[in-house]
Symmetry: C2
């Protein structure tokens, strides 16, 4: 697809069909992520691909429990109605972790989250690559970071930056409105 | 351009011609950034576009001073040879800031850097949009974050996440090598 079409096609998908995603497609999505820039090209990212249905179900169950706690903590009514069960429908989850030791000269520049920035650029590439193939995903965050890292076996010392369900969308995506550039920009 | 070609065309550009970049192109690049996802669609990003030659020269001079300090602090010989003067050649700099109050439910999830993640996804979209137009950029970080924020007038409470020179590349880009996906991925 044309790049500008991919930008518009990338929406946060919260409903998946039961169709599988081929392993080579998962690899291509991760390869797109790896094309992101990073300090010193240290490529601080690593990936955990989950296709085991029991593990995926456990992730969804954890998210539902976190949702219940969040509904209490945040006091926001809509949270109680947000159903993360869609995560359990996706045939694949891809977790992205980052190594805080791979930040180039960041430690000398107060840029100690450079690994998170690089992994976020990597995730954005992955989300776009998903959209480019007509698949759906979203940057899912409704989990306890420490508990999810333990559930997925994220190696000691690495930080979980995002969890991406990937699958065939069960419904067309819709772009939420964006603020106008003029309202967000200062010119010097 | 096709998305996959854009991914490959996006390289870190460290040499720019004197050719200008039209204001509407700058706006289109920022619009591409704004198509990124963010928690609750809060769009925590804002932008400072610098085209004033004196300000651009001041940024480059600051970076050269930081380079000198980094060469001492890091003890790495190559740093002394790294010349950030290319930043001063670019006709436009775009700074991206993020609002740490716009993190959705992140505060309840230990995800207090969700604004940095969203702004990083925004920056990656911008870098790809630059490449899509045959222009060059890079995620420049050789500056003192507090000093650069002051130089650019980043509003109190916002965090500077990246600085992107944008211009016409003076030389073809080259992709650095990437680690194989298989070496980075665990399958569950």
């Amino acid at each position: 697809m044309e790049f500008s079409a991919v930008l518009q096609a990338r929406t946060s998908c919260r409903a998946y069909t039961a169709d599988p995603v081929a392993p080579e497609v998962v690899t291509a999505i991760i390869e797109a992520g790896c094309a992101a820039p990073s300090p010193f090209n240290q490529q601080p990212w690593s990936f955990i691909v989950v296709t085991d249905p029991q593990r995926i179900a456990a992730v969804a169950a954890h998210s539902a429990a976190v949702r219940d706690q969040l509904a209490k903590d945040s006091g926001q009514g809509w949270v109680a109605k947000y159903d993360p069960a869609f995560v359990g429908q996706a045939p694949v989850l891809i977790a992205v972790a980052a190594n805080p030791k791979k930040i180039g000269l960041g430690a000398f520049l107060g840029d100690t989250d450079a690994h998170v920035k690089a992994a976020s650029a990597c995730i954005q590439n992955m989300l776009l690559a998903v959209a480019d193939r007509g698949l759906g995903s979203l940057w899912f965050t409704m989990y306890d970071r420490a508990e999810m890292a333990a559930m997925l076996g994220v190696a000691e010392g690495l930080e979980l930056v995002g969890l991406l369900p990937v699958g065939v969308p069960a419904a067309p995506g819709k772009q939420p409105p964006r603020k106008p550039v003029a309202d967000l920009t200062t010119y010097l």
